[in-house]
Amino acid sequence: MKKPGAGWRLACRFIPEGDITVFVPPESLTATQRLQLEGKAAETGADPVVVPVEIRPDYNRSGAGLPDDVLLRESLASAGIVVKKFQYPVLKELSGTLRQEEKVRLVVRQGDVTGVLHPGEALLGVAIDAGTTKLAGYLLDMETGEILARKAAMNPQIAYGEDVVNRIAHCAQHKDGRSRLRSVLLEKVNTMVQEMCGERGLSSGKIMEAVIVGNTVVHHLLCGFPVKQLGLSPYIPSVGEALDVAAAEFGLDISTGGRLYFPENIAGYIGGDHTAMLLATEQERSNGVVLALDIGTNTEVTLSAGGRTLSCACASGPAFEGAHIHYGMRASEGAIEGVMIGNGKVLISTIEDKPAVGLCGSGILDAVAELRKADIIDTRGCFVNSAAETVGEGMEKSFVLVPRNGSGSGRDITVCRRDINEIQLAKAAIRSGIDILLRKMDMKAEVLDRVIIAGAFGSYLNIKSAIRIGMLPRLTAEKFHQIGNAAGTGAMQMLLSSGKREAAGKIAKNIEFIELNSEPGFRDIFMQNMYI
């Protein structure tokens, strides 16, 4: 910051000249963030991945000196259930449980017995959506499909890189980079699992199945796969197939016999989380011409029409998460989430209605749209001279949204030229992805029947503002469908149903991935889309 005042400096621009002590105000850590957990409960189908089987062993046969596992197998066979294998961890618990009760609840997974529960004990599963920035966890009753608990957290990998490219670079620069990035995330996931169980007084040892979805880089880092090639054009994943691994071997703290599933990755920057989102929206995308976006630091865009599915990844960057914006912040209390400018007045709404301390993604988007609407900035995003009162010069030239006497921080909350530029870059990236996919299908935006928007930011963004600044095509309101955490929903569907896992695999296989940078004229389209 060039202007001195009140001892405040921007942390991202401050370079210490010696040892310093960093004080982090506790409120900044505990203020809960508006992360995304709305994912819908999934329906159980006719093809569950894991089924509980209650069996009362035929003890009359035990007189024949049959070992417990053999007796169980025969009892199951007479009930019409053929078991292939008793998994090793189960065998350790089998006899103990059998001798406590007369009947036993076996957990059968695709023919193998992977766990044993007491009669009446819930069969639990967990689904995790591991985003670049945010993690969302869901604890499910695998028999009823009911969501028993939800948990949201920040991805601790952020400390090693705000975006996935920086995390890859961290691994290149540090010998222990990969192991550290894997362990901090795995630890966090295990903690989330414990916390969710704790909320319902359940034991994580009863979780028999887990599904984790994430973008390809996060997936590779969590699984311990090499990421170097993901950082180099043409960004090829090390692993693209679905994975089915033993949770114990992986390090996931659920039942010792539990299994962990990762769906297919589509491309270097489009991972299983997008596969999950496409699964969750499969029905909706099967009719007409449908655009589906998952907006985040990395925005994935998919266009479905006539049986074809085209996908691309847009480098939208963290501006919509509040990063790189002067007064940007994550979506927590006091963040301006909505802005209206008219008749010389500025109206704002903040999260939890607390006094404004900054702007979150939806707030800055609104601000830019409203500034344009009021002609305070022109179509290039530059302030129009004398259109309104601004302070500062050059890239720091700012419009005051909330004067200091009304803000929660005692400082003016402003939007500057640089901030507007960041939003222009972000929205141009997204719109260019949309334009290129449409061009590839020889279609114009007007023929879109539906635009599905997933992701946390997507749920809260103001569609009108997004259209006004040119991020989304101009269509009628009812064509837009903000669906919340579709990746989470897809993950839960895959948790419960093997049919859904197959369907996800087919979706991934059918996708035509488009590398935007290789498209002719991409640069010109991008520049055109920078205009507001």
Partner: protein, 231 residues
């Protein structure tokens, strides 16, 4: 009359009209205006102006890029004319320019090309995703003074270091100035890898190149020159 042509040309570059710029450049040359005068009075000031207005937030990225395209178009003609008249000595120096291996972001690189040529450098644009080896081979072929390497992806930074180390291993480090720039590139990084210079903006890169060719010092024998870094 000639003033009018210069004015029109200046305007065409500033507004990013590529076709008009090329046409007006031809007309100006045909009408007898010296190539050097065209550069000094029309192209250079136009690029300087748009660069300043961009830095001020009064112009935005697409305008800067289009102006760069227009200037590039003009400079291709003008440099040819200059060299055909006075030989290569009229040029300040030869720069081999490219985007580092693994990276394909070339907007910045294209701007640098336009600015350098507008300021009298001969620029050999290698394009994107260039390995250290390729940089060196092309620098040799072109008898370059400067190897300019840009990167926008953090993951491509290590290859900049590799480029400098390779020159050393080949015993030719002192033959070429190596300069680096681009989003994640910092003055500190340039110093760490012992590059000869770092430029923050395209205009900084021009100043940097001028300083290096005028310095009379051998590459790697001077401290990294830092132009325009954030403080």
């Amino acid at each position: 009359m000639s003033e009018n042509k210069i004015e029109l040309l200046n305007e065409a570059v500033a507004t990013g009209e590529v076709d008009d710029t090329v046409r007006l450049t031809r007309e100006a040359l045909d009408s007898g205006i010296a190539a050097m005068d065209i550069i000094k009075e029309a192209i250079e000031p136009a690029m300087k102006d748009i660069g300043e207005r961009f830095g001020n937030g009064e112009a935005f990225l697409p305008e800067l890029i289009l102006a760069g395209d227009a200037a590039s178009g003009s400079m291709d003609l003008l440099i040819d004319k200059l060299v055909s008249e006075g030989g290569e000595s009229v040029l300040k120096g030869t720069v081999v320019l490219g985007v580092m291996y693994g990276d394909h972001h070339d907007i910045g690189k294209n701007l640098v090309k336009a600015l350098l040529s507008a300021n009298g450098f001969k620029v050999l644009d290698l394009g994107i995703n260039i390995t250290a080896k390729q940089f060196i081979e092309d620098a040799k072929k072109a008898n370059a003074d400067i190897i300019a390497c840009s990167a926008l992806l953090t993951t491509s930074l290590p290859f900049q270091r590799e480029l400098i180390e390779l020159l050393g291993a080949m015993g030719i480090r002192e033959n070429y100035y190596v300069i680096v720039g681009g989003g994640p590139v910092t003055a500190q990084w340039a110093q760490d890898i012992k590059a000869d210079g770092y430029g923050f903006t395209g205009a900084d890169c021009v100043n940097l190149c001028k300083k290096l060719v005028d310095s009379g010092e051998k590459p790697s024998k001077i401290e990294t020159i830092v132009e325009g870094a954030l403080t």
